[in-house]
Symmetry: C2
Amino acid sequence: MPEDHDVLIIGGGPAGITAGLYCSRDRLETLLIERGLIGGMINEAEKVDNYPGFPEGISGTELTQLMHQQATRYGLKTIYIDVIALQVKNKSMTVKTTSGSFGSRAVIIASGSERQKLGIPGEKEYTGKGVSYCATCDAPFFNGKTVAIVGGGNAAIYEALHLAKFAAKVFLIHRRDQLRATAIVQERAFAEPKIEFLWNTVVDAIEGGKTVENLNLRQVTDGKKYTLKVSGVFIAIGIKANTGFLKGVLALDKRGCIVVNERMETSVPGIFAAGDIRSNSIGQVVAAAGDGATAALYAKNFIES
Amino acid sequence: MPEDHDVLIIGGGPAGITAGLYCSRDRLETLLIERGLIGGMINEAEKVDNYPGFPEGISGTELTQLMHQQATRYGLKTIYIDVIALQVKNKSMTVKTTSGSFGSRAVIIASGSERQKLGIPGEKEYTGKGVSYCATCDAPFFNGKTVAIVGGGNAAIYEALHLAKFAAKVFLIHRRDQLRATAIVQERAFAEPKIEFLWNTVVDAIEGGKTVENLNLRQVTDGKKYTLKVSGVFIAIGIKANTGFLKGVLALDKRGCIVVNERMETSVPGIFAAGDIRSNSIGQVVAAAGDGATAALYAKNFIES
C-alpha cells in the first residue's frame, strides 16, 4: 500500500480530533477517519461541566464542533467511512475501510468505547435527559434528588457511592442477589445509608415527560412488576471497547482496551492509541484530548526518527 | 501529621488546576498549593492556538484563569506558598511548606518544569514578543520570517526542523563547533537548506522595539561581535524539572522528571504526578490538563480502596 499520508487517525471524538489538530499544526499529511458523527460518545452529553476552560459548561456537541473547526483550520482532512482492518508491514501501515484502503507511516487509534446499553424502551429517548452512563460527569445535576443505578460490578458501586454524595437517595438495581464488586467496595456501599439495594430486579422500561420520571421494574424471582419514581437513572453494566478490528494486531488488556505506556505507544511501533480505547483511560473529554496530543507528538517523533 | 485533606495538589498550572477541578467535583477535601501565579509557565504565552475548544486561540493567562474559576466554583481551595518537602509515612503524606505542614491521604505533584533561560538582557522583556521556548506552540506565528534558535541538542534540532516548515530562514546558534544531537537528527538538519549554522557563537543580548528585531552575537573563538536581524528567537538549551524537593522520595528519570505509568501513578502508592513534571510529558496545556484529570481519578480510587 502506498503511504498516501503521514498519519491516519481512526475515530473523530476528542482524542482523534486533538491528535488531528496537533498533527496538522506540525504539517503532517493527516487524515481523520470517522464512521458516524464527529464528537463520538460525548455528543450524548447535554452539558459538559468538567472540560477545563468552560466554567459555565458547554454541550458535548458544541465542544467537539469547536475542536473540529480548530483542527480543520490547521489543515486536518476528515472522511466518514467505516474502518474494517489495520495491517502493519515493516514500517508501513494500511487501514482498510468500506471505501478502499489508505496507507500511512503512523496510525493513531482513537475509536473510543461504547457504554453497554440496556436496550429497553425509553433508554435512548431519555439519554442526556435523566439517563446517564457517567456519574463522574453528571452526578452534580442530581443534587438532593432520587436516582437509580443499574449494575452490580465495581464500576456500578463506585458510581453509586459517588451519587450518594449528591443525591438524597440512590437505588441500586441489580438482576442478581449478590454483587460482582470486590468485598471492600461492597462494604462501603452497604454502610452508606442513602443507598438502597433492589436485588433480583431488572428495568423493563424508562418513562417520563420531558425528563425521566419512572422506572418500570420487574422482580426476576416472582415476576412481580412495580414502578419506581426517580429523577435519573445511571446505567453501569460495562463498557465495550471498539477494538474488534484489532484482534491479533495489538496487545489488548482484559477489558479489550489497547495497552499503552505514558507516551501512548502501543505494542507495535508506529501505532499509537488515545482516549477511551487505551488501557486505564478515565473516560473523560480532557484526558482523551490530552492523550490525542501526546500520541500526535510521539507519532511525529516516530516518523522523523 | 493529621490528614487535614483528602488530596494536596502541588502546583497551579493546567495540570494542577484540572486535578483540583476533578477532585473538588468528586467532593474530596482538596487544597491546591501554588508558589507564584496561577497558570504557571503558560502565562508566558500571549496566544495559545492549540488548546482544543478555542478555534481562535486564547491567551495563556485567560485560559488558566477560566480553568481556575471553574475549579473554584466546585469548591477547590488555593493557597500561595512554597513547598519545601514531601514526606510519606505508611499511607499518610505530609507536605512541608514555608508556612507550616499539611497532611493528606494522597498527593498530586504538578509543579511543572521551567525552560532553562539564557539570562541575557532582553530575554525576559521579549518573552512572548519574539522570544519563545516552544516551537511546537509558536512556529506558525513566524510564517515566512527569519528566526534564530539557540541550542545544540536534539530538542534544538527538532525545533529548528519544525521552524523550517514555517520560517523563510532559520539560524541555529550554538556555542560549540559541533552538535550534541544524535547523528540521524543532525543529518536531517544539515540537509535542510533553510537552516544556517552559526558555530562557536553565543547571544549577548536580545534587542528590538515592540517585538524582537536583533540579536547581539559574539564568536567565542575570536571575540568578534556582530548583529543578526531576526523576527524571533527560540531558546532550546534544556528544561529544568522542579523536582529538587523530591530527591530520595520518588523515582525520577534522567532528566529529573517523575516516572509515571499511564495512570499517572509514581513509584510511591498515593503519590501521583501530572503535566510537565512527569516522564515523557509533551509540555502542552491539553496534555497537562488530561494528566491532571487522570491523576485525580486514580487518587480518588486510591483513597477509597
